[in-house]
Symmetry: C2
């Protein structure tokens, strides 16, 4: 094959990015720094396409899959999980032989497997995503530096060649990531339920408490600010992510409540030794992480 | 009275700061910027006293209450609640007539009332604290800018004169605060249980979850980092604060669990409408706060 998708000669590669939201826009901006040959931007919103083109983030704006994406050596799907499948179905007739597809979905389930089934021989889909993000949503909030220092998760399936797995890892490092991790889709969703889904729910529940009042704003400092930072949440995206992983997420919420129940009991009992044990364990873990 | 403690002519006032930890050190640094006449620093740790003196944060280092504090027009007790009482008992014989005392305890209970009972006529204790803080503890972590833009809580008791209440509010604004709030000790402790105590417990419980593993570090991004920022906690200080307010804090933990229980149920039921309702409420509240 001479399709070149395994090349890491970025200057000779044409990329297509589907979905110019926070993550898609960030990919486009970071790829610009790699001086890739061209970036095709695909989005259903005309205003977003126009903005991305005017800001020089993309070269070719495209509203629906069409002949133009035959140029793409690599297609990055920065869409909700269910939209990835639809996009691949709609565009399969236009994709070049040997195209490499990847996604950035926060929850994987059967997605990598299902997408690969739709592809023709020579085409390969590999799943991954950066452990990065920031508040807000949309192209305006995108930032090419979100990859800097982040970990990139690569989720290979049986159909993936070692060459393609390594290619994605090389791209991640080129974008600025400092580490890559390979993991199965099942383990991915299980870990993410704790490390990403749960913290969002913890923040939302904290600010949703019945104790919130008009006076709250005068009595908050860093702990409340940090603990509720992600409570300004994109409900469409996150309800999709939570439900795609709902049993694992519910299990994590229940495990979190087990810890809180220990606190409630120890507080009412005035059990200072237990409180200190909880805090010592937490402080040790936090120091080791950062 | 000509004791001058109600003066806001900072250049002519002598301050004593008891406890040169994170908050005491921050007060000393911020008072320096007001060019107060002198700062007496009192701490049980010789190393801390030497460091504070060498760094120019204090003028007079003092290990125990003694004749030197008769100079002080204002005494700021930056100690654990129980230590405030002990300090006042030990130092009462050395304090000048007309001295003004204040504290920065995060939990108030009967403290303002009990301290005032120990004082001689002409002396006044007024309770308050900045809604500010930062990670870590100790003089090394202190920062004179923590008052910038913060709210200062003033907790007057019946014994407090309007003049002294206003004096503390004026000092807070001079230190850089943007707002002051007057509140009773009971309401203070009740609100703080939600806005400060609970976020610390939420962070500790999040990182203490049984789901934490060796792999966690590769799968965390902003939401986990922010949600556990205060989990690196000073167990001595916080066990004291939690227990001083334990029933209210336990009630807040229980209310928090009620919200989380709603999440657990809605997730298992695949109830997307409820999930969106929770998130919409949270996002609205968060946007209004910041």
């Amino acid at each position: 094959m001479t399709t070149g998708f395994k090349s890491t000669d970025w200057k000779n590669l044409n990329f297509a990015i589907v979905g110019l939201g926070l993550i898609g826009g960030s990919f486009a901006k970071a790829l610009r720094r790699l001086h890739v040959r061209s970036i095709i931007g695909i989005d259903i919103d005309d205003n977003v396409l126009t903005a991305a083109k005017n800001q020089g983030i993309i070269d070719v704006p495209l509203k629906v899959a069409g002949e133009e994406i035959r140029q793409a050596d690599v297609v990055i799907c920065a869409l909700y999980p269910e939209a990835v499948i639809k996009f691949v179905k709609d565009s399969i007739g236009f994709l070049k032989e040997g195209v490499l597809l990847t996604d950035v979905s926060g929850i994987k389930k059967n997605l990598p497997f299902e997408v690969q089934l739709l592809l023709r021989p020579g085409m390969e889909f590999i799943s991954g995503h950066p452990m990065a993000g920031r508040q807000g949503s949309g192209l305006d909030m995108s930032d090419g530096t979100i990859f800097q220092g982040a970990n990139y998760i690569v989720i290979p399936e049986k159909h993936n060649s070692e060459e393609v797995i390594k290619w994605l890892e090389t791209l991640a490092m080129a974008l600025g990531c400092k580490h890559t991790t390979r993991i199965s889709p099942e383990e991915h969703d299980s870990i993410i339920a704790y490390t990403s889904n749960l913290p969002h729910i913890a923040a939302v529940a904290l600010i949703d408490s019945d104790s919130f009042s008009e006076k709250t704003k005068y009595f908050i400092a860093g702990s409340f600010r940090d603990g509720t930072r992600v409570a300004d949440i994109n409900e469409e995206l996150w309800s999709s992510l939570f439900l795609a992983n709902k049993d694992r997420v519910a299990d994590e919420v229940d495990k979190y409540m087990e810890q809180l129940q220990l606190w409630s009991i120890a507080l009412r009992a005035g059990d200072i030794d237990s409180l200190k044990d909880f805090m010592r364990k937490a402080a040790t873990r936090r120091k080791e992480l950062y």
